[in-house]
Symmetry: C2
Subunit: 145 residues, 2 copies
């Protein structure tokens, strides 16, 4: 089962969680589902990331966004390094079960590793690409490791 | 190059479009980028779909959302059958170039094939899954083929 591909030490603590997780189609994306983080207060779409079953379970339990980092191949508690964690206010599953929407409170007001408020800071039209994002922090000061 | 995998008859009509498309990382997703459709007026996240380079180009040119259907393996002009097209108001690219956000006007007020306003109509919490979506149309009446 493809669900196993991206997991570390997946533990079920409650039957209801198992039931919930069985409603999510991790198999279609080789163990991962696309996850959108949207500001719960303003509606801004802040970022897109991925979750495996364990990161979903941890998000559900801790009410903080935990993703699966495709580049580092590990669980990724968003904000671990920057302090800009995402407090999860509500969770939604799409019609075919392969995408998740998190409505969150973005601590530090910036979701992007560039220090921008949103990762979607580049606007495209038929004349080109413009940076329309709000710069919240200087990544050189925040990511010192 | 993975970009070729999902294309039909990719034609560049303007140099600026080629420049734009080269800023989008289609290769990471084997020719596809994740695309979010958000209601431009209300901020509601309506659906997640995928675009190849040609569907992106057509979206840019026509100002209507054109996706790549992974299940049918063809270009998918959203709303072709239901009439519920998506008029594109603005387009955003994320920091690493592998996800696109469309701010749209949803004709017919429903984005989901189930007749719901949004595909994200199932709310999850640690007690279960609840249908919280607004039913806009009856899919049996709309999809008659």
């Amino acid at each position: 089962m493809a669900l196993n591909k991206h997991r570390e030490s997946f533990l079920y603590t409650k039957m209801t969680e198992l039931d919930l997780i069985e409603n999510i189609d991790f198999a279609k994306g080789n163990g991962l589902v696309t996850t959108i983080a949207q500001d719960a207060a303003t509606g801004e779409v802040l970022m897109v990331a991925y979750m495996n079953a364990e990161s979903f379970q941890r998000t559900l339990q801790t009410k903080e966004a935990v993703y699966w980092s495709r580049s580092r191949q590990c669980l990724w508690h968003k904000g671990d390094q920057s302090g800009n964690i995402q407090k999860v206010k509500s969770i939604y599953l799409d019609c075919d079960g392969d995408a998740i929407l998190l409505k969150i409170e973005q601590v530090g007001n910036a979701a992007c590793h560039t220090g921008k408020r949103s990762c979607f800071y580049r606007q495209i039209d038929d004349t080109g690409i413009r940076d329309v994002g709000a710069q919240v922090f200087d990544p050189k000061e925040v990511y010192t490791k």
